[in-house]
């Protein structure tokens, strides 16, 4: 039977050395960039903070998945750029009338497209999505908070938007099964109903 090893007790000299090291002052090397983390997080949160935006962008992914290739990939390529163009217009102060109504309408029509499994020609689908993207981007552009880090805010904003599309596409992949097709149509109907609610609020 082996004897248990004796526990080594910390020496007082060691404790003093540890204390001295712990209390020694060193210059802070932290690379603090005020507002940058806030900028990314604010940008990331912005597209997902409004249900009307979320429903419309997820619907774009759902519809793309229903339409299949190449629409499934064309829409996520086109939407961020057109939406950013809308954001650009909002940032520089170019006015756009009826933004809230258009955003609500986008939920209604995109939801309807998913509910009916509409299959318009690809340019028409891209144009419909693109027009609504401008309004969504414009709303975000005019709502940007002052003092944020522009680049990190923009990165967070675009990444969140892209993730919403990808989420929609991922959910839309259930389209390959019969039950999935029904589920997508039900989801589209729910988006339309929610969009009508937003429209009522925007018009009132």
């Amino acid at each position: 039977m082996r004897a248990a090893p004796a526990r080594r007790r910390p020496s007082p000299e060691g404790l003093v050395a540890l204390l001295v090291l712990a209390l020694a002052m060193a210059p802070a090397r932290a690379h603090i960039q005020a507002g940058e983390v806030g900028g990314f997080l604010s940008g990331f949160k912005h597209p997902i903070s409004g249900l009307d935006h979320v429903l419309a962008m997820v619907s774009v992914g759902l519809w793309g998945a229903q339409l299949g290739a190449p629409a499934m990939w064309l829409l996520p390529v086109v939407f961020p750029m057109v939406m950013a163009f809308g954001g650009f217009l909002g940032l520089v102060g170019v006015p756009l009338p009826g933004v809230e109504i258009a955003i609500a309408l986008s939920a209604v029509l995109l939801g309807l497209a998913v509910a009916r499994e509409a299959r318009p020609p690809l340019p028409l689908a891209a144009a419909l999505v693109g027009v609504f993207a401008i309004f969504h981007g414009h709303a975000h552009g005019t709502e940007l908070p002052p003092g944020q880090s522009g680049i990190l805010y923009s990165i967070g904003f675009v990444v969140a938007t892209g993730c919403l599309h990808l989420t929609g596409i991922a959910i839309g992949l259930v389209h390959r099964w019969p039950w999935g097709r029904i589920a997508l149509r039900v989801a589209g109907t729910l988006v339309t109903v929610a969009g009508l609610g937003f429209l009522w609020k925007a018009i009132r």
């Binding site: 690379h31 390529v77 750029m81 650009f88 940032l91 552009g141 680049i151 923009s154």
Partner: protein, 212 residues
């Protein structure tokens, strides 16, 4: 009359873009020496980092030869531009990062079929311009010319695997994923451009200029 007003407005816009401003580049002090400061600068500066990655993706989409050209030309051009910037550099209010994001993002998103020579030229221009703009920041309290070595080394290390990865992609869906990334970069660039206009107070004047 409207044309003349639009021309004057455009001229005012260009003039306001060319007004020199204080350099806002944030230099990183790692405490490990100027080369590491340069490395830290590039890794923590998305304005420089993202266009490099976008160039690597684009060169990869264009094939192995274009990737190799970009790999070697970009760091050399960055050092050349940086040395020029160290000597003569001054900050500019032209939103160069935004324009780089838009240009390289669009090239990736569109999978534009440019010849290898054009890809090499684009790598050279990117390195020269961004390196030149690094100059004022490096010249002051920054790491100086040695910092450029760190920046160029990271650029090389970033472009090599990124472009090689894209060259190896054969599945159409994977290449489309790269193009989606390009569209995100272009979208970020558009927002940056709007941000630059708004920050400089050009925003409120722009609608009138656009409308004429």
């Amino acid at each position: 009359m409207r044309t003349r007003a639009a021309g004057a407005g455009t001229l005012a816009l260009l003039a306001s873009l060319l007004v020199p401003v204080r350099a806002e580049a944030h230099l990183v002090t790692t405490g490990l020496g100027p080369v590491y400061d340069g490395i830290g600068h590039l890794l923590l500066t998305p304005e420089d980092l993202v266009p490099i990655v976008a160039l690597a993706l684009y060169a990869g989409l264009r094939g192995a030869r274009a990737g190799r050209l970009a790999l070697f030309i970009l760091p050399v051009a960055w050092i050349a531009g940086g040395l020029l910037g160290l000597g003569l550099g001054h900050a500019t209010s032209v939103p160069v990062p935004a324009l780089s994001f838009i240009l390289f993002g669009l090239l990736v998103a569109a999978d534009a079929k440019l010849p290898d020579g054009a890809v090499a030229a684009l790598a050279g221009v990117l390195g020269l311009v961004h390196g030149f703009l690094n100059g004022p920041a490096l010249a002051g309290a920054g790491p100086g010319a040695l910092g450029l070595l760190g920046i160029a080394a990271v650029a090389f290390v970033l472009v090599a695997p990124a472009s090689a990865l894209v060259v190896s992609l054969k599945a159409p869906a994977a290449r489309i994923a790269v193009r989606v990334a390009g569209s995100w970069v272009a979208a970020i660039g558009l927002l940056l451009l709007g941000w630059a206009f708004r920050t400089r107070g050009i925003g409120p004047a722009l609608p009138g200029i656009l409308v004429g």
